[in-house]
Symmetry: C2
Subunit: 718 residues, 2 copies
């Protein structure tokens, strides 16, 4: 690939050790080596019957059926390779990641197995997990219903205990109770963990999980009483259409009692619902893990889009040709830099906050083992908030990168349309991003209400302990370069977050207290949590219990809940939440820079990116900073001035900074983003592969075009 390299000149400009940066990006030398080895393994997968099974370049041209078959083929091949090469779990997971095609297999490992591990009894784990690990059964996770998304309490599917036969009868009483969306369920899964309301002698015990066989292991035909299929096309071509998201209805389907997941609560032979005393807080471990994964994935997705847009911006030339010389590279235009470089910096910022979340996860696990639940409310709020701001910024950032590629970004071969289509669901699943922010807002209101109570806020909210100072401090910036000081940036972001939170709390308390408030608050709690994945940990309590549990954990400030103001001002609360979460992202980037980072010029580059990230956020949200008096308009102008200087410093390193993501051309899947920059010949080549070019004349020529050319339109003009 290096043979021809149109970016060679750009790469020589780099002022830092790209190899060392790759390790920083990966998180560790070992992580880098595994990821690098497996990525190349997938990219250079041996040709089987003359076709690379892992190829993606034709994906958007495949019909739905062809795409789905292609997915089955890829998964089978991936598992074959994993076996042949005796890959470790980490390597195997990486291989699936680099295969880069959503499939039923994701649910087996991501949802079905964890649900059983989290909620099954020892006997149930011993029975089901080996079959799942050996892929003798294919499992999915059936929670969401056609009429019920986040509101778990609203699920309608019933599992009624029949003491006569010692069985549960699963039933879909209404159309809206049809299971809808579960991945893998549409065409493939043989089994599912199904969430349904447990009914014993006429009593509703809320939502529980049940292991249900859906299809015959021989020919995958649905079992009696089960209607199941695919829910149809989704956003884009290729993208998530490789996944068989499913619809399913039960007509009085019977399963033995021991297929209810009874790790946390049991139903006895007599049909009694017995609770265990497993501490509920354990649900938080998996939740933190899932959210740190989502944040890490956001940095990866954004890094792919930024890599494509940056490389193509260096290839693409527009205007500025002087006396017949070459035109100017678009990456040299300030308008391009001011849109692209903040996204480049964001990819790094999300990477580091994701790495920090991995540390936080380990910390939470340790604490849970010693029954230390003190940090959970703060952990819950900061992980919910980071999930929200990183996924939203990434979805928007991918589309911005597409626009930054001009017209060619609209071609499927740019890779950007599919990247966008496959990524955007992240803003909705695992807790809608707006709802996540309301969770954070609620936590902020609680924290504010406790100020002065002597209880010191901890972790990412610790700065609130200095609220008194932050509410009246004045920014010391006098010259543009003052904005390069980490403590100056940090204080500005802290002051902004603190002032917006306090202002919200004050406004909320102006509103009358009323019953509605309480309902709303409970709803929000359920709305947020449990998330789809973590609900599997929550089963075994009726939802009122779940509510009160979560209420406890998320430290709802009742006086605020009781105020109708919370609902009225929910839009303002989300803005205060964003301010708090952006502060976290900025502060974790700054903390990262306090570590010792080896490699020539590496730390310097990260310092520049950290400043770009912080100051571009400040510019974007300048209203928050100025309106709250954290900084003056003049100081805002100085920040903007400094930002322009920083862009000039990023420019020579831009290509090397995206090289550091270490994406293979296979994984990137973009002609515009090719490592060698050989864009135009390959675009030209690619065009001819479209099915429309198989024949010179289009199908339908005789029926539809020739008659037109021969007819005479009566109109003088159309």
């Amino acid at each position: 690939m290096e043979a021809l390299d149109y970016h060679a000149k750009e790469r020589r400009k780099a002022e830092f050790d790209v190899q060392e940066m790759k390790i920083v990006w990966a998180g560790s030398r070992q992580a880098y080596e595994i990821s690098d080895r497996v990525a190349r393994l997938v990219a250079s997968d041996p040709v089987s019957d003359f076709v690379k099974v892992f190829r993606k370049d034709n994906r958007t041209m495949l019909s739905r059926k062809e795409l789905f078959t292609d997915t089955l083929k890829k998964v089978a091949h991936a598992w074959k390779r994993i076996n042949e090469l005796r890959l470790s779990e980490e390597e195997g997971t990486k291989l699936m990641d680099f295969m880069d095609q959503p499939s039923f297999a994701d649910l087996q490992w991501g949802m079905f197995i964890p649900a059983i591990k989290g909620n099954g009894t020892e006997e149930q784990k011993a029975k089901w997990l080996p079959m799942a690990y050996k892929v003798q059964i294919l499992g999915c996770y059936a929670q969401t219903e056609l009429g019920h998304g986040s509101n778990v309490r609203g699920l309608e599917t019933t599992a009624t205990f029949d003491p006569q036969t010692d069985e549960f009868v699963l039933h879909s009483p209404t159309l809206t109770s049809s299971k809808w969306w579960p991945g893998g369920m549409g065409k493939v899964s043989t089994h599912a963990v199904v969430y349904a309301r447990l009914i014993t002698d006429g009593q509703d015990h809320g939502v529980h999980g049940f292991i249900v066989q859906l299809r015959s292991l021989d020919d995958l035909s649905p079992l009696p009483g089960i209607t199941v299929g695919d829910i149809g096309m989704k956003f884009g071509s290729g993208a998530y259409n490789s996944m068989d998201n499913g619809v399913m209805r039960f007509d009085h389907v019977r399963i033995p009692r021991d297929q209810m997941l009874m790790g946390i609560s049991q139903v006895t032979r007599e049909g009694k619902d017995v609770q265990s005393d497993v501490p509920r807080q354990l649900i938080y471990g998996p939740m933190v893990f899932v959210r740190q994964k989502i944040v890490a994935d956001a940095s990866t997705a954004l890094s792919r889009a930024v890599c494509i847009a940056t490389r193509y911006s260096a290839v693409r030339r527009q205007f500025g040709s002087q006396n017949g010389g070459p035109e100017t590279q678009v990456i040299d235009y300030k308008t391009q830099q001011s849109r692209l470089f903040p996204l480049l910096a964001s990819a790094y910022a999300f990477r580091f906050v994701g790495q920090w979340l991995m540390w936080l996860y380990r910390d939470v696990i340790q604490r849970l083992q010693t029954n230390d639940f003190s940090t959970l409310p703060e952990v819950h709020a900061c992980t919910a908030g980071l999930k929200s701001i990183t996924t939203s910024a990434t979805a928007d950032g991918i589309e911005e990168c597409r626009k930054l590629c001009g017209g060619h970004g609209y071609l499927s071969s740019s890779g950007l349309p599919e990247l966008f289509a496959v990524y955007v669901p992240a803003c909705t699943y695992e807790g809608d991003n707006v709802v996540m922010l309301l969770q954070v807002g609620r936590f902020l209101m609680k924290t504010v209400s406790q100020l002065g109570s002597g209880k010191m806020p901890v972790g990412t909210i610790a700065y609130m302990g200095r609220a008194e100072h932050l509410l009246q401090c004045r920014c010391e910036v006098e010259r543009a370069e003052d904005w390069l000081k980490p403590h100056v940036i940090l204080e500005a972001f802290e002051a902004r977050a603190a002032r917006m939170a306090v202002a919200c709390a004050k406004n909320i308390n102006k509103f009358p207290k009323q019953e509605d408030g309480m309902h709303f608050s409970l709803d929000i709690l359920l709305l947020h949590g449990p998330s789809r994945k973590t609900l599997s940990m929550l089963q075994g309590k009726d939802c009122a219990a779940a509510a009160s549990l979560l209420k406890l954990l998320t430290s709802v400030c009742v006086s605020l809940c009781l105020s109708s103001g919370f609902a009225e001002l929910s839009a303002d609360l989300t803005e205060a939440a964003v301010a708090h979460c952006q502060l976290i992202a900025v502060s974790k980037f700054i903390e990262k820079l306090q570590q010792d980072i080896p490699g020539k010029g590496v730390k310097r580059q990260l310092e520049i990116l950290c400043n770009v990230y912080a100051l571009s956020l400040m510019h974007k949200h300048i209203g928050d900073f100025v309106a709250t008096g954290c900084i003056s308009p003049e100081q805002g102008a100085l920040a903007n001035e400094q930002l322009r200087l920083l862009y000039s410093q990023v420019r020579p390193n831009a290509i090397a900074l995206v090289d550091a993501f270490n994406h293979t051309d296979h994984y990137l899947g973009s002609i515009l983003g090719r490592y060698d920059g050989n864009v135009y010949p390959k675009l030209y080549e690619e065009a001819w592969k479209d099915p429309l070019n198989e024949t010179v004349a289009p199908d339908g020529l005789h029926e539809y075009i020739q008659p037109i050319l021969k007819q005479h339109i009566r109109l003088a003009r159309l």
Copy 2:
């Protein structure tokens, strides 16, 4: 359709006459009647061979080839109906609009014919137009090249005059000179207006237009020397993949001399390049027309997304169930309202500014006829700016509406993914939106530099004549309701725009003057103009002339051009430009309300929407307003408070306000947006139509799944 109506209750809440609002939206009673009649004609098109030719519900499931054939079929049928029904030009155009599928036919009427009309001699028009109107030939517009987008000066295709044979020789000297993107060219067009550099005896006379036959009229096979095909898949499924955007290369293709469009300049038998004295300013008429159409289309596209999201937000319920009652309609949540209602208001705002642009177009035409070119610079800037802000806001708004529909918005059957994919190119074509804003910024700088010169700014920039006042005026708002006064809103927006423009000019002048600036400025001029469509009007001058012409017309302030500051501060300039353009949109909405608007409650609703539009913009850009001291933070908070009250006033009218768009279910193409609100049963029904559900077991079962279920993964865990 009215038989079952889940929205009946919502519709009864309306506080205004929906029928009258439909007429306001359409622009006139007559426009409403034509549009309504033709829309229903398409929606209820008679069944031919048991399939509705105009159906769109299966579009995203079609393979590229099937989709393209479907397009040929639709166009042929459309023309058949236009003939049978002897539709007028206006009706015929509407029918094509409501067919709602991009096709080669768009280029025939939108580009090929206008190019000949604008640039042909009388003889050329007499020869070619009748054939084009009767569709005996199918034409497209071949300007853009693989390596050259907006920069017309960079086009590489050559047309060399051969005096021996009295012919032009068209040739593509490089790969990057391949024509790339022209719609209709890929598989269908028999002819094209091709833009190429005119070369006569070794001299380059710049870009001119030539009529070239591409394909045989019998079997559409490409003529000798022509390589032509489709450029491949684009964003999304369905969407623009119905269009055969093409790639084409010439290998010394000869055409007779009289196929160069010679309306404005000619090449004589001896190969001399002779200029005519047609006033260049005439190019502005078509340009204004094209841009007003783009703005009108933006309001239509946004209205479709808003209609879908609003109706589904009334159907969808989440949480808030009290003692077992129904859950709360999501449209009742403030977070939903604060995202949805500003988009609803924007759709109306864009509608009215589009209607005003139609007036402006007529005004410009009249002036051009009397050689009055005085308003052109201002017209040029305001149309460029409105194109930019309306298309950007619409693209973002459609995606926001999709997110507002939760998970189901991700389904193709919601109609939103395809609407987004088919719309986003509007941000790039006809002048990239950022480049358009730089044009506006340049005009603002020019205007500022002339302040005090005695020359009074006119039209949409007239407020700059009061700069002195606007730079020091203070907002008088003391209570939230003060923000309901139009003159208060107007002055705040004027002050913001004036102050940002003046601040930019001051900063620019701080930078040293240098040659580069001039190059940059010329480039920008060419970059902006001529737009693809209007270039057809511009042919017949070498580009230096074009540059100086456009330079003249756009009144470039040379002192500013010469400053490197223009390039350095281009990002700031775009922000000042946005402020100016948003002011125009707000002021035209306010002006609309000064007209007499019949119909019970209609005007009242529009006043509410106008305030929502203005105050939500203010909230979004609060930094501009506060940092420039136009309003105080407290006044900003009052605006926000007023905004919440306005949302409550919109709420009961929301469904009726989207009904007023008068979209048929066929045109809307969304199950979530169905007029009758019968969403869930139809979603369920739709799912089974997916090709994946044709068979119970998926293709590939035996090859790929059964082996997996039988194999034993060696790993203890993957």
